[in-house]
């Protein structure tokens, strides 16, 4: 019982010492040691998961094939239509000044670890300070979708704090109406666009993009779309629940914007 109380006391002391960040050097060393193993473990499990998925899908492959052939025919007809819409899209992009990803100096990296406490709050990538990555740099998925910002960097790995994390706060705007607000994480349970003035207009289904205010993120990175609109308890602001465009847990490769 004495040992139990001693260990409990130690754990509580450690918990209260956390804000002082005295464990950062130990954490960096341990992360450096763990880095190659984490990489190996992550890719092994990814391969295993893909193998299981493939085995599970063998039975349905024939049906899937027939379905795909039908879909292919439909898609061919749609390609022609989309080519036309592509032109229109690039015109609209120019008008909206959406961030063209070719302009960015991107560092591609593999995900080698993620939040195992089911709070969906961070990802660990295999690029660090040796590749020029610094805290605060935005991280995006394919198609220029913002997923979060770099929080901690070690020599060969970095921690990305995801938009769903409670510490995350990003200036965003509604791409259709221009309504501005702050996007906050809800402890891994979702993301919410907050502090939107009552005079602003929001519509369900509108796309939310980074507004570029504050200067820490480029303008026009896609975040997600509005699922629900509500008013704060004090009736001062509007809030919108935003659904991310991608599932963070399924990301294998992410890009860090360097410039």
């Amino acid at each position: 019982m004495v040992k139990f109380l001693v260990v409990i006391f130690i754990s509580l002391v450690l918990i209260f010492l956390n804000p002082k960040k005295i464990f950062n050097p130990i954490q960096k060393i341990l992360l450096e040691v763990a880095h190659p193993f984490q990489k190996m473990f992550f890719f092994t499990s990814k391969t295993l998961a893909e193998g299981f998925e493939f085995l599970g899908s063998i039975g349905s492959l024939k049906k899937e094939n027939e379905k795909l052939l039908k879909e292919n025919n439909v898609l061919i007809s749609q390609v022609a239509l989309l080519n036309d819409e592509k032109k229109e899209n690039s015109m609209l992009r120019e008008q909206l000044s959406l961030a063209p990803k070719k302009k960015f100096d991107l560092v591609s990296s593999f995900v080698i670890g993620q939040d195992s406490q089911y709070l969906n709050s961070w990802l660990l990538i295999d690029k660090g300070s040796e590749d020029g990555i610094k805290p605060g740099m935005p991280a995006i998925a394919y198609e220029g979708i913002l997923i979060g910002k770099i929080e901690e960097v070690s020599a060969n790995s970095s921690k990305i704090i995801l938009l769903a994390d409670s510490k995350s706060a990003v200036n965003v705007s509604d791409s259709e109406t221009g309504a501005r607000g702050i996007l906050k994480g809800e402890y891994g349970l979702g993301i919410i666009m907050d502090m939107i003035m009552q005079t602003e207009t929001l519509n369900i289904g509108d796309m939310i993009i980074t507004s570029g205010l504050g200067g820490d993120l480029p303008r026009g990175l896609l975040v997600g779309k509005i699922q629900e609109i509500k008013t704060t308890k004090d009736k001062l602001f509007q809030q919108a629940i935003v659904v991310p465009r991608i599932k963070y847990s399924e990301l294998g490769i992410v890009f860090v914007i360097k410039n």
Partner: protein, 182 residues
């Protein structure tokens, strides 16, 4: 000493597996806690006295590698281990025939306890008032899934773990014999 070093290395790799191996194999909100399962298993079999060092190391490694508040998992593990130790001494010793099934029940209880202590300490120690609008999603489908996956993982690992335990014990015995011979 060598035995303790081996156990420390195993625990380090378990923490890495929790962060970098399991997320690809289990749904994100239903991911079992591999370290907790193994600590429950060994506490039930060996008693809490032999498990202090693995619990401390496991808790610290897991907190550091998963960027969690350092000390949290240590707190959770030690609390769970104390209760599991009491349960195991009360039921496991008297019901040897049903050992495997009692261990499964103990894993289920341990998973629930771990979850409860984590959320309780999150609310009181870290003051996370705003999780899910002030209410904790404790008894939800994710917890049921997590418990089911914990049991599944335990069943998969039960025999390999017993084997590993024998190997470590034999290795320790060999080292003791060597030092006695000298």
């Amino acid at each position: 000493m060598v035995q303790k070093a081996i156990i420390s290395i195993i625990i380090f790799f378990l923490a890495i597996a929790q962060v970098s191996f399991l997320p690809n194999l289990f749904p994100e909100k239903e991911m079992p806690n591999l370290m907790l399962i193994l600590l429950i298993f060994w506490t039930a079999r060996k008693g809490i006295e032999k498990m202090w060092v693995p619990a401390i190391l496991g808790g610290l490694f897991l907190d550091i590698l998963s960027f969690f508040i350092i000390g949290t998992n240590l707190f959770v593990f030690v609390c769970v281990m104390l209760i599991i130790n009491y349960l195991a001494r009360s039921f496991l010793v008297t019901h040897q025939t049903w050992r495997f099934f009692i261990l499964i029940i103990i894993v289920v209880i341990g998973t629930f306890l771990g979850e409860f202590i984590l959320l309780f300490s999150a609310k009181t120690v870290f003051v996370l008032e705003t999780i899910n609008n002030g209410t904790f999603p404790f008894f939800d489908t994710a917890l049921a899934g997590r418990t089911a996956y914990s049991v599944l993982l335990f069943i998969i690992l039960y025999w390999p773990l017993k084997k590993l335990e024998t190997v470590i014990n034999l290795y320790g015995l060999r080292i003791n014999l060597k030092s006695n011979a000298k």
